[in-house]
Amino acid sequence: MKLEGTTTLPAPVETVWKTINDPEALRRCTPGLTELTATGPDAYAATLTIGIAAVKGTYKGTLTITDKRAPTHCKILLEGTGGAGFMKGEGVLDLEPEGTGTLVKWAGDMQVGGLIAGVGQRMLGGVGKMLVGQFFKCLEQQLGSGA
Amino acid sequence: MPTREITLRINGTTYAGRAEPRKTLADFIREDCGLTGTHLGCEHGVCGACTILMDGDAVRSCLMFAVQAEGAELMTVEGLADGDRLHPIQQAYWEHHALQCGFCTPGFLMTTLAFLRDTPRPTEREIREGLSGNLCRCTGYQNIVRAVAAAADVLAAAPDAGVRRAPALPDGCVPPTSAGAAKTRAAGRARTPAPKGRTAKTKPSARPKPKRPAGRRRRA
């Protein structure tokens, strides 16, 4: 399923770029991320506990940042498997200066499979968008506090 | 998870057993009470194969825990027929070929019983809506709808034609089976053999068989 959107962050492009590539920021802002361990350059082992209200699942997998064209373009790949199914998300980020801040254009392709997808189809797109929203909101807070 | 004593009243008989609170009512009925007429189709509340009556209302027994049914009067498909005599609803399903593999049938029968009690003269549309909580993979539903309409006529003409009707809230209790007076049956372990009651699938040989369509029998 394809999702896309834009968001504005209160920091110049270089700062946003640095934050997105910073594992600490990723650890703090990726919703549900409980574990992020570097396994190589721009590659991490990740554990995500993600869900809505009572419906939660734990997924173990990897997070990789690829296709880097500093400081304006990269791709974040997140995939994991767990009891409730599997998920694979691929997000392309493009950064542009906008005033004193940065306009982030993001386009994602999310695949969810297994039980959670079979049963939760109705809400996956909406929930996916919401989680992406949480990610950027957190980044915004990080940048706003002058991280 | 610790087990606990669970006592249920089903078809006028008291059953006792031990199970964890997480054991669903459907599983307890089947495994601890030996009443395997109630079927498990989806176990998430969509297909209706597990439908039983609780205090006269059709409920999905896969979505209840056995502990929750204590104190209620339950009725399963085994409570429909009286010995060899099919309930008019079963008879109508039989006559209208409203079952093929029969897996969904117990759930449909129980839903029909409660439905016709509440809507004794339903239109076809009402029948389709009333049965919408039960899924059938074999029949395509046409014959089920016909059977329910036919059963409605029979029950309307002779309200006591049903040997047993669904108990009205909250008293009313299914009289004991002809196999004996109501007795407490200690539930055995999971492998209790099924009791001698009849399910919808049983065909008493005394009944005239429906006519086979004319034509040559195909050899395998």
């Binding site: 869900g51 209200a53 419906v55 109705r122 909406g126 919401m130 | 969509v46 825990f65 502990v67």
Partner: protein, 290 residues
């Protein structure tokens, strides 16, 4: 498809239930009808460590008219409300919507309050509460509070309730005399979650619209009140053209998601169609009631 193990409690009073929720916090889930929770547990998509079964708390099993409001206790089954003469007389919008909630077997156990607590984005009852401007009563360790619909529903399956709170009651304002109403939804099969649904309340005065309420389900993460469309109707003379304009206003206001069941465009389109039909039906009823 069997649930994971849990600690099971079946308190007899609201106080006991709240004490249990207070002790276990977000490890506990309340079990009332179970028609939404138990499927999730059977599939192990939800694995609450503690279940607080409130079905023994008989003081919560009521449906009463209370000075222009219908009060439904947490154990009021959907089926009881569906068949209630009080609902038919004072709040027929609720009755009409209830008939489309799931199937009879679900409504026999499912509760009205439980559906509100579950906050499914395509649920009928959440939209009805929002349309009528109803409230719920929540009891927690810190006391009791009343939560209006527009503060209750936060997101998909998410309410503003604290895990230590128990919803004890839902309050639906009765439709004033002479108000027309309608509930319209589209679902692929009877009993399915609505692809979109609209509840409308319409009051006339002197041939013009005095008050309009339009609430939608299935077009967002929570029920949506089409406030702009509502405002555009007040003071206007009812007509087909007016309904069409309201439908367009609704289409502009909603941001539905698309999924395998229906695209966002389709949902947006039928939100308008259903609004138009519901307004027309509500008008007929308002005129009949006059």
């Amino acid at each position: 498809m069997k649930p994971a193990a849990f600690e099971y409690h079946a308190p007899d009073t609201v106080e006991e239930a709240v004490a249990l929720l207070d002790a276990h916090g977000d490890q506990a889930k309340v079990l009332a009808g179970g028609q939404s929770l138990v499927p999730l547990m059977n599939m192990r998509l939800a694995r609450p460590a503690v279940i607080v079964d409130i079905n023994r708390i008989q003081t919560l099993n009521y449906l009463a008219e209370d000075g222009g409001t219908l009060a439904l206790g947490a154990l009021c089954r959907q089926r009881a409300a569906e068949r209630s003469a009080l609902v038919a007389r004072h709040c027929p919008l609720l009755g009409d919507a209830l008939a489309l909630v799931g199937h009879a077997q679900i409504r026999n156990r499912g509760t009205v309050v439980g559906s509100l607590a579950h906050a499914d984005p395509a649920a009928e009852l959440c939209a009805v509460l929002a349309t009528l401007g109803g409230t719920v009563t929540a009891v927690g360790p810190q006391g009791t509070r009343s939560i209006p619909a527009d503060e209750l529903f936060v997101s998909y399956l998410t309410t503003s309730l604290d895990p230590r709170e128990l919803l004890t009651e839902a309050r639906f304002p009765a439709l004033p005399r002479g108000t027309g109403w309608a509930w319209k939804e589209i679902a692929r099969r009877h009993g399915d979650f609505a692809l979109a649904g609209v509840g409308v309340g319409l009051a006339l005065r002197g041939g013009r619209i005095a008050e309009a309420r339009i609430g939608l389900t299935g077009v967002g993460a929570t029920p949506v009140r089409a406030a702009r469309a509502e405002r555009s109707l007040v003071g206007a003379v009812p007509s087909d053209a007016l309904w069409e304009a309201a439908a367009e206003a609704v289409r502009a206001e909603v941001e539905p998601d698309g999924d395998i069941h229906a695209s966002a465009e389709y949902r947006r389109h039928i939100a308008g169609v259903l609004t138009r039909r519901a307004l027309a039906e509500a008008l007929t009823r308002a005129r009949e009631a006059a």
